[in-house]
């Protein structure tokens, strides 16, 4: 019993430590973790399926049976929002994941080797970056297809140059650090220098960027679905729900308010996390 109390105490202490380290990151992180758990397990506890229609209660206001009301087909909005998060988060994670992997690799190589390779990598990135993101995504989804995987890829393509640029800048800074020179003098290979010495010390600004871009990816997915280029009905997507709810704003305002709020909360979560990380990972905060 006391051992357990001790463990709980330790956990609480650690949580308090995180909270003190950065309130912003803690709150943002908590929102994200809570959402991920809720949406990942939604099929276990939700009494409804996302596309199950309750013909007895279309456009129902929030009740005990439908906590956040139903839509025009009598589908449970809370359930659909939670399933909608699956798509949002999948797109965000997928696009940021791909973008990170490619962008970090390219930025690291460009910053480390410099010279011709730097130009070879970064000039195409500049061109890509000059394209308006939304146009690029619309074009890609329009040409290739309206599947979640295409959306992920389209957003990733927008993200690669952003990550590459941040990573290159931060690599340039770290590459001139004395400890990198020291490791080089000790005979460390290029690969070892990049992976052991530069990457861990240069990745922080990229992670901050990643957190912010997760939020933007969710907004992009919602926007695409809203204009009909993203998730297709009847799949539950926050943007699609917003778009469907538009026609019923007078009778059933919850149809737009709930997904709208849901988008705000998750984006807020990622932005808070990003801001907090900025404080936590900023080298100026670390005393010598």
């Amino acid at each position: 019993m006391s051992a357990r109390a001790g463990r709980v105490g330790k956990l609480l202490e650690r949580l308090r430590g995180w909270y003190n380290a950065s309130r912003s990151a803690f709150i943002g992180g908590t929102i994200i973790v809570a959402l991920v758990i809720m949406t990942a397990t939604v099929s276990l506890y939700s009494p409804y399926k996302p596309d199950a229609m309750d013909f007895m209660a279309p456009l129902s206001a929030p009740t005990a049976a439908h906590l956040l009301g139903t839509d025009n087909f009598g589908r449970d909005i809370l359930t659909r929002v939670l399933y909608g998060y699956q798509i949002s988060l999948a797109v965000a994670l997928g696009s940021v994941g791909f973008g990170l992997a490619a962008g970090v690799t390219l930025g690291l190589l460009a910053g480390y080797f410099g010279g011709a390779l730097d130009n070879l990598i970064m000039r195409p990135m500049d061109v890509l970056m000059a394209f308006p993101a939304i146009v690029l995504v619309v074009a890609l989804t329009g040409f290739v297809g309206r599947e979640v995987s295409v959306m992920v890829l389209a957003v990733a393509v927008v993200y690669v140059p952003i990550f590459a640029r941040v990573m290159r800048g931060s690599t340039l800074e770290v590459v001139s650090e004395l400890y990198v020179e020291g490791a080089r003098a000790r005979g460390a290979s290029h690969l070892r220098l990049m992976l052991r010495h530069i990457l861990p010390n240069a990745i922080a600004p990229v992670l901050i960027q990643a957190s912010i871009l997760m939020g933007i990816a969710i907004l992009l997915e919602s926007a695409l679905s809203f204009i009909g280029l993203g998730t297709q009905p009847p799949d539950p997507s926050l943007g699609l729900m917003l778009s469907e709810g538009r026609s019923f704003m007078q009778q059933a305002p919850w149809m737009v308010m709930v997904p709208g709020l849901a988008i705000s909360i998750v984006v807020l979560g990622f932005n808070l996390l990003g801001n907090g990380l900025q404080d936590l990972l900023n080298p100026a905060r670390k005393g010598r």
Binding site: L178, Y179, E181, A185, R186, H197
Partner: protein
Amino acid sequence: MSSMTDSARPLLRAAGLSKYFPLESGILAGWRGAQAAVKAVESVSLDVYAGQTLAIVGESGSGKSTLGRLLLRLIQPSAGHVQYKGENIFAMNRAQLRAFRRQAQIILQDPYASLNPRMRVGHIIREPLDIYREGSKAEREKRVRALLERVGLTSAQARAYPAELSGGQRQRVCIAAALALSPEIVIADEPTSSLDVSVQAQTLNLLSDLQRDFNLTYVFITHDLGVVQHFSDRVAVMYLGKIVEEAPTDALFAAPQHPYTQVLFSAIPRPDPSRRVNWELPKGEPPSPLDPPSGCHFHPRCPQVLTACSSTVPRLLETAPGRRVACLLHEDEEN
């Protein structure tokens, strides 16, 4: 510390070594034709003998750190070469360079900046062993513990991150990492300049014990003449990229020959209030290495300047066995 013998072959020998840093880089630099360059190191020749300590002394902008990096091929020279045991290090292939890097190590100035903040101390010291795949994993760990103990740290400190250590302890970690592969020569770039005097004394004692135990050769780059006199066998004094004087330590301190060395020595605040120096002696600021004065670089600040000094570049000539000086005053003596 053995004295130099004429027959001794130098372990490391630099000949006509120069390093110019171009001022502009990028696509347009070449197109604009002739470009300005900072002459950080200008035709430097010197010998480093095994088991000895050579001190390279100079003020900021003298090129002493650049020279140190050239001696280890951390940067490419604009001209000249460096021989290690008779082998030109700039002509070495990958395998040869790898072997050279094993035997020639560097200790950098700032122990705060020269340790990877995200690696534990044990890992930092083990890394050179990993790079050269020395022994088994267990053997490497054992070697790390032995090294930690040798430099006066505890094996528990292997788990620490650099941020958890004091400046003196960090410098010990740097020394342990430099010694991991049992090198023959260690180049130390201002190894104690950011440490407090009592910590500096501990570090210097450690370095000198290690030299005795492992017959190490040191090249000590520093601006602290107290450290130089205490620690080195020979001294090379640099001013604006050139060696102006080179001599055995005792001889140099007994009678510096180059006017710059004399000015430098007179400016050092000695911890002896009964011998206050004439503070007005050194005049002017060191000129920018971008646009060094003509002739002898020191002539605008030189108290003994001659008319010829602004036009004639003095040669580094031997004035006594093992003693060289680059000054027209001493060239005249010869003729």
